[in-house]
């Protein structure tokens, strides 16, 4: 081969490699980017980790999922934000952290990006309540919802039928039915809720408190923790624990509460819809054939609203713009209709889209999805106030309500003390 021919071959090779490289780059626009995600250890976390390679396949970006318990997630992400250490690009944000995130500008305000990509994201298909409550605060969208949970009532059809009782439709009926279904000699209890000191008992009581007409804040947004309605609801909560809950419930957190229900100890439990797939899983549940799910009962005369909780995903405001854009692409991908379906078929139990909740395959697998859809249509995500002071208020309530349940203090005195301390936070 002559020198000229060799030169031509070399040039042709170079051109080919350049074209192939450009084509590859166009095919995988995020190649070489790594996104670090701090995720709450909920049912969605392992599913995100499982689906992440698919995102890499499509875009070239690697997503590393750090799965953390609630306390560690809060501490590690806050330390990352405060220290501007950029350890995490994406963080899962609990609905109640929105105020703190907005106040401290921890994450990118997604408002403009959502407007820009509304069509691509099929925004009309996403429940407005999830966008409003999970991440929107003070005019900013500090996170985008990807896992909406509805507060639902899980109950045992067999126990209610055997006792000749109907499913409670009001909070008053719920209390009555719970007490009637309790028979400690048979190790059968009508009710279970979190009693453990800390976020566990505070969050569950706030749910019952809202259903009974109580509210932590008054109309002006200031603490009204020792209001008559709150004191009365705490009395009812204590009555339920004294007369209808398993003795160990004063020390139950979410895990203990769910386990007592799955093991058939309890007839009724208000819970987040995310736990529901577990009741139908014979490998962990003894109540597969007898469980049913309905909306939570509200006290007579009150507007019908259902508790909304869940997680949004926020983008660390400290990371550089290219990384932020890549993170936003991941959020759009995760919340797209196709991935949301796959996400939930894998058992994430996390919903934000109307099309996902109406999907025939998902409905066949999880028969309670219409209940979640109904709850999302009438959702209240503010019964746990999403204000910057919420973590402290939750901690104060977590101690006070637990003290009331174990009999250490009267409801009025406990809530008076919380009110006195909460006022100092504003």
């Amino acid at each position: 081969m002559s020198t000229a021919s060799l030169l031509k071959l070399g040039v042709a090779g170079l051109v080919y490699v350049s074209i192939a490289g450009a084509a590859l780059a166009a095919d995988k626009p995020l190649a070489g980017i790594t996104l670090n995600l701090a995720s709450q250890n909920d049912q969605f976390a392992p599913v995100i980790a499982k689906l992440a390679p698919k995102f890499e396949e499509e875009t070239g970006a690697t997503v590393k999922v750090d799965i953390l318990d609630y306390g560690s997630l809060l501490t590690k992400t806050q330390a990352d934000f405060i220290g501007h250490t950029k350890n995490y690009d994406l963080v899962t944000m609990d609905i109640v952290w929105a105020g703190q995130y907005a106040d401290n500008k921890y994450t990118v305000d997604l408002t403009d990006w959502i407007k820009r990509d509304a069509d691509e994201m099929k925004l009309d298909d996403i429940y407005p309540s999830t966008i409003k409550y999970i991440g929107q605060y003070d005019g900013k969208q500090v996170a985008f919802p990807f896992a909406g949970y509805a507060a639902v009532l899980a109950y045992r059809k067999d126990l209610l039928d055997a006792a000749g009782l109907k499913v409670p439709e009001t909070a008053e009926e719920f209390v009555e039915t719970a007490i009637k279904l309790t028979d400690p000699d048979k190790k059968q209890y009508g009710f279970v809720a979190n009693g453990q000191k800390g976020p566990a008992v505070a969050q569950d009581w706030l749910q019952y408190n809202a259903q009974l007409g109580g509210s932590v804040l008054d109309a002006s947004g200031k603490p009204a923790i020792n209001s008559e309605a709150n004191v009365n609801s705490l009395k009812v909560y204590k009555e339920l624990f004294d007369k209808a809950a398993p003795p160990g419930a004063v020390d139950y957190d979410w895990g203990g509460r769910e386990e007592s229900f799955r093991q058939g100890l309890v007839a009724m439990m208000e819970t987040w819809s995310v736990g529901a797939p577990g009741y139908y899983d014979p490998s962990m549940s003894k109540i597969v054939d007898s469980v049913a799910i309905t909306t939570t009962p509200v006290a007579k005369g009150l507007p019908v609203k259902y508790g909304l909780g869940g997680w949004g995903m926020g983008i660390n405001a400290d990371i550089d713009p290219a990384q932020q854009e890549a993170a936003w692409k991941f959020i759009k991908w995760l919340t797209s209709p196709e991935i949301q379906k796959e996400f939930n078929m894998e058992g994430a139990g996390s919903y934000i889209r109307k099309s996902t909740l109406a999907d025939p395959d998902l409905n066949k697998k999880f028969p309670y999805l219409p209940v979640i859809a109904k709850s999302f249509e009438n959702a209240d995500g503010d019964y746990r106030p999403r204000i910057p002071q919420y973590p402290e208020i939750q901690d104060l309530l977590g101690t006070a309500v637990n003290a009331v349940l174990v009999g250490g203090v009267e409801p009025k005195a406990a809530l008076d003390e919380v009110q006195e301390k909460a006022v100092k936070l504003f």
Binding site: G71, L74, T75, Q78, I82, Q100, D103, N104, Q196, K197, G198, P246, P247, G248, V250, D251, G256, S260, P388, P391, E392, D395, T399, A400, N402, A403, L405, V406, G407, G408, V409, E417, K421
Partner: protein
């Protein structure tokens, strides 16, 4: 002027050389100490000084953009006016005194029982050390599981037989703190026993034999000979345990989380919550400083008591 030395007489040349050598040696020793001093300053003194400084400020990293506002001693005053902090302080003192007292009494009894040489005692000592080798978090988790009323090996039956009440010992405001104290006693008594046993084994045998020969009873030998001679070891054991017990965190954190209510809340549990959960740096620093101060005062008190007891023993 060059000089030399004959016998014990130092001549200027040799003296200068020796001084230079001493200076060099001193410099060398200082150089050896420098890394340790720098380490202590950076790792202990500087953070301590910062902690003291921050405690005079209202300084919350989550609110007000992390601004610091000078508040003087307000954070220290809050330790007493805030009912939760006051409860935590009182609980910590109760926990420390009760746990250390019980550990000392049981530890001394065990040490005296194991004093004699023998295979049986050596085997017992080996088994006795098992609790000390387990990390307190695991100890807490084990006891939490054992005392659970739903499935705990002890908790279930204690509740069934009506001994603990239907909700168990850890869910009662009156019994939770004593139970947590007993868990600490279970874990750390063997360590106290081991320290005291080492002290007992090092006592001079001839004095004890002389006391026996003089007709002293066992109780007299213990009170008048063994205990006074054991005082330095007792001091070591008590100081170590007081320092550790006052900082109690892990056992309480995993068994009760400070509950029920505030029944088992300790200064460290509260301090960690304020500092690492709410990032309330000013108040958390004040809590930490008070803990250090309390430990220092308690240790100084022990030093004085033991010294006084030692003087009294020497006088008799």
């Amino acid at each position: 002027m060059a000089t030399t030395s004959v016998g014990s007489i130092d001549f200027p040349q040799r003296k200068a050389a020796r001084l230079r050598f001493q200076d060099r040696r001193r410099l060398f020793l200082i150089a050896l100490a420098v890394p340790a001093v720098v380490y202590v300053v950076l790792i202990a003194l500087w953070p301590l000084a910062q902690g003291i400084w921050y405690s005079f400020f209202d300084y919350n990293l989550l609110r007000g953009g992390g601004r610091r506002t000078f508040v003087g001693l307000a954070n220290y005053a809050e330790l007493w006016t805030d009912s939760t902090a006051r409860r935590a302080l009182i609980n910590t003192f109760v926990f420390t005194f009760a746990a250390v007292a019980l550990e000392f009494v049981f530890g001394l009894c065990l040490a005296l029982l194991l004093w004699r040489e023998g295979r049986f005692n050596r085997i017992c000592l080996a088994f006795l050390l098992i609790p000390v080798t387990i990390t307190p978090v695991v100890v807490g988790l084990i006891f939490r599981a054992l005392l659970a009323v739903d499935y705990g090996f002890f908790g279930y039956y204690l509740a069934e037989w009506g001994i603990s009440g239907p909700r168990g010992f850890l869910a009662s405001t009156s019994s939770a703190l004593p139970v947590v104290i007993l868990i600490d006693v279970w874990e750390w008594t063997p360590l106290v026993a081991l320290i005291l046993l080492a002290g007992l084994k090092s006592l001079p045998g001839d004095i004890l034999e002389a006391a026996s020969a003089d007709g002293a009873t066992a109780l007299q030998r213990f009170r008048l000979v063994v205990l006074p001679l054991l005082l330095p070891t007792v001091f070591l054991a008590l100081v170590l345990r007081v320092m550790d017990a006052f900082r109690v965190f892990d056992i309480i954190f995993v068994t009760t989380g400070g509950g029920p209510g505030d029944a088992t809340n300790s200064l460290m549990v509260y301090g960690v919550k304020q500092g690492l959960q709410f990032f309330n740096i000013g108040f958390a620093s004040a809590i930490g400083n008070v803990a250090i101060l309390c430990i220092a005062v308690l240790c100084a008190a022990f030093t004085l008591l033991i010294r006084r007891a030692d003087v009294r023993a020497n006088e008799t």
